[in-house]
């Protein structure tokens, strides 16, 4: 199967993710495909996403680590850099990717993005506009969505 030829780097990364998980982040490979990870990120404290549990999927393409992993939110989230399909606008997932980065660093960066939305480099125009014109109200909506869609089971 695909799993039989798994590069040593992926095995090592997976082992480390499972044995020493980063705080607020869990990532475990799927049974059928060791390149596919089920990810959960806890909404960072003091952010509109606090208390939420966000599910993501992460896939390591054939070229990994020369090419970046593919990551997307499965849980609905109100965030200027994440669109309604869950795609994430993050430089290290695109042109700033480096093979010296890892799954762990990617997920930590996504967690940081939840703490610090960047409406100046938006993926979702409407949300970004909302954020810039009325931040308080936008934050309220984000909190509301967190309650509605990310409150665990």
């Amino acid at each position: 199967m695909a799993n039989s030829n798994l590069p040593r780097r992926i095995i090592k990364e997976t082992q480390r993710l499972l044995s020493e998980p980063a705080p607020g982040i869990s990532a475990s490979p799927s049974e059928e495909n060791m390149r596919y990870f089920n990810v959960m990120i806890l909404g960072p404290s003091q952010s509109p996403y606090e208390g939420g549990v966000f599910k993501l999927e992460l896939f390591l393409p054939e070229e990994y680590p020369m090419a970046p992993p593919k990551v997307r939110f499965l849980t609905k989230i109100y965030h200027p850099n994440i669109d309604k399909l869950g795609r994430i606008c993050l430089d290290i997932l695109k042109d700033k990717w480096s093979p010296a980065l890892q799954i762990r660093t990617v997920l930590l960066s996504i967690q940081a993005l939840l703490s610090a939305p960047n409406p100046d480099d938006p993926l979702s125009e409407n949300i970004a506009k909302h954020w810039k014109t009325n931040e308080t109200e936008a934050v309220e909506t984000a909190k509301e969505w967190t309650r509605l869609y990310a409150s665990g089971e």
């Binding site: 040593r8 090592k12 020369m66 480096s98 093979p99 010296a100």
Partner: protein
């Protein structure tokens, strides 16, 4: 001498030989016109002396050009020289010098300036580290930061920073970057926190042959593409580049591949029309091309027998196949016989006259009519633009055919050395260049405002003259040459043919020079000659001569602003050209007298026609250098 006839002679095939005398006489006939006669004898030379001129002169002007065409090897040489220069001056490695230059768009002076202003900042920005960031003094094995495998020290490579990666991961990293595009030229250490530069030396020691090849091609291209003073020749398949060193407004560039283009906008050379007009025109063409394709399907029905005709040669003189044999003009579909000046008509094929229908149209009808007219108007200009484009392509092919196939044979059959046959290639070169100019004058004409009546008429007159001259030349080169190509031995008529073709080439060149000059002046002579008669011709001579080179206009972009100024200063004097166009009632007694004086020995004392006036303007003009020709 009858100047009416003289004027026609200047255009006339049969009398090219007499041109010189006639023109001189003609010129002196007109001494009375105070705004023409102010010039010196040099202007007479302009008409007389041309015979000896040939393309050598154009070529000998090339070193004065404000650009240099670079071949592959030239580019390599310059790049290497620049790298060595920076490396020597800054006492750094060639590799580091290359990295610096790439960051500063290959500007040696900018590298020097930045480096000596703040070396540390530049080093940091570019990633030229002076010491290791990480080091492992005692480790015998190191872990690759990408595959996480352990390797003996010897198999681990690092940039100047020391971050350890194995050769295989380096190769993968470099390959990915190279396949992503020219960004690989600014490659850094894979460690995301590290900015250490990865230069060509490392690429060469770690990448596959294929990747190395790609990398050096990117490097080669970058030298041209990142440098503000160089551009690739835009001709398909051409690998030459052009280094533009001038700072004036003449952007015409002729690549060694023979393609002529505008350095500023990289569109095909479009002198005398400015870049803005060309861009507008090209945009318009692409927007309306579907219509045009439909309208200008490749055939037209013969105006007489209605059989569809496909144009298979370059000139506009069409002859329907027997039994019809009707001769007509491809553009206006009128009988060719009507195109001659002697038949009482004049060459009007360049002229657009929307049929003005009087009558009671309702609003919708009127709007429909307007839309149709606007399309018709555009079609008119587009068609002529495109036809000349096609003719030019055809002429280029004919020129090539002439040089590669016919020349040798012709030299044999006519027992003439090839050097004696240069007049034929010169004629073709002139045709190619004139087709180009003529083509662009149609986009100029499209944008020339309708309300500028005087300018339009003057423009159309000059264009029409140039065009009919060119048609004669093209026809002569295309059709009359045929008999000599198929002849078995020397023909008596060949010398006559030489005289005729060389004469036509010269005459046509003059017409086009005048056309180009007038357009580059924004047709300002229509405005200015009335107000400053007596000096304008002289001052024009001054500027044109002073510039040397290629009769540069000063109004490439702002031709009309000058005229606007003149409107303010225009005073009660009606511009002369307009006056002669207008009704004679506009003439004051004084003016009539002056005209009568100046007409001198002319038989009938009628006032000069507009046609004549423009002609005067042409022969009375200054000596202008030849048009450049695509080689």
């Amino acid at each position: 001498m009858d100047s009416d006839d003289d004027m026609h002679d200047a255009n006339d095939v049969e009398s090219v030989e007499d041109d010189d005398d006639d023109d001189e006489g003609f010129y002196s006939d007109e001494m009375g016109f105070d705004y023409y006669c102010s010039d010196d004898d040099a202007d007479v030379d302009y008409v007389i002396e041309d015979d000896a001129e040939d393309f050598e002169r154009i070529h000998s002007r090339r070193p004065e050009n404000n650009y240099i065409v670079l071949k592959d090897s030239d580019i390599q040489q310059r790049q290497d020289d620049d790298i060595t220069r920076v490396s020597t001056v800054l006492s750094i490695s060639q590799d580091a010098s290359g990295i610096l230059l790439r960051h500063f768009n290959w500007s040696v002076s900018k590298v020097h300036e930045a480096w000596f202003a703040d070396e540390e900042r530049v080093r940091k920005m570019v990633g030229l580290l002076e010491e290791l960031v990480v080091w492992f003094p005692n480790a015998r094995e190191l872990t690759c930061g990408i595959c996480f495998e352990s390797f003996p020290r010897g198999r681990i490579k690092s940039a100047a920073c020391g971050h350890p990666f194995c050769s295989a991961c380096w190769a993968g990293y470099i390959s990915t970057s190279i396949n992503d595009g020219p960004g690989c030229l600014l490659l850094r250490c894979p460690d995301p926190s590290c900015g250490a530069a990865v230069g060509q030396d490392m690429i060469n020691s770690l990448a596959s042959d294929e990747d190395k090849e790609k990398y050096s091609r990117y490097l080669h291209r970058s030298y041209i593409e990142d440098n503000k003073k160089t551009k690739w020749c835009p001709a398909p398949g051409c690998e030459y580049a052009v280094n533009f060193v001038g700072d004036n407004e003449n952007y015409d560039v002729s690549c060694l591949c023979t393609y002529g283009f505008c350095w500023n906008c990289t569109e095909e050379a479009h002198r005398p029309v400015d870049c803005g007009t060309v861009a507008k025109w090209i945009l318009k063409n692409s927007a309306e091309s579907e219509n045009m394709n439909w309208i200008l399907a490749n055939s037209k029905p013969c105006p007489k027998c209605k059989r569809p005709i496909e144009k298979n040669q370059g000139c506009m003189h069409m002859t329907c196949t027997p039994p019809c044999k009707f001769e007509f003009c491809w553009l206006c579909l009128g009988a060719w016989a009507d195109h001659g000046e002697r038949t009482g008509g004049f060459y009007a094929c360049n002229r657009y006259e929307a049929a003005k229908q009087e009558g009671a149209y309702d609003e919708a009808e009127r709007r429909r009519e307007m839309a149709k007219n606007s399309l018709e108007r555009y079609t008119h200009y587009y068609e002529r633009w495109a036809s000349n484009q096609t003719s030019r392509q055809k002429a280029l092919a004919d020129l090539h055919q002439m040089q590669t196939v016919h020349m040798e044979k012709l030299s044999e059959t006519q027992s003439q050395p090839e050097s004696q046959l240069k007049f034929i290639t010169e004629a073709w070169q002139q045709i190619v260049e004139c087709r180009r100019v003529l083509k662009w004058t149609y986009s100029y004409g499209y944008y020339l405002p309708e309300y500028e009546h005087a300018k339009r008429q003057f423009f159309e007159y000059l264009q029409g003259e140039a065009e009919s001259g060119l048609e004669r030349l093209h026809q002569c080169a295309e059709k009359e040459l045929q008999q000599f190509l198929t002849a078995d031995g020397p023909s008596k008529e060949f010398n006559d043919f030489r005289t005729k073709l060389a004469g036509l080439t010269r005459v046509t060149r003059n017409y086009f020079e005048n056309l180009v000059r007038a357009l580059e002046n924004g047709l300002s002579d229509v405005d200015s000659q009335g107000t400053c008669s007596g000096t304008s011709s002289k001052s024009m001579a001054g500027t044109s001569k002073g510039k040397g080179g290629r009769g540069k206009g000063t109004s490439r972009t702002g031709g009309s602003s000058k005229n606007v100024d003149n409107v303010g200063a225009a005073t009660p004097v009606v511009p002369i050209l307009v006056r002669w166009l207008g009704s004679s009632s506009a003439h004051t007694q004084r003016e009539r007298e002056r005209e009568r004086e100046s007409s001198g020995n002319r038989k009938n004392n009628k006032r000069p026609s507009f046609q004549k006036l423009a002609e005067l303007w042409i022969v009375g003009g200054v000596r202008v250098p030849k048009l450049s020709c695509v080689r």
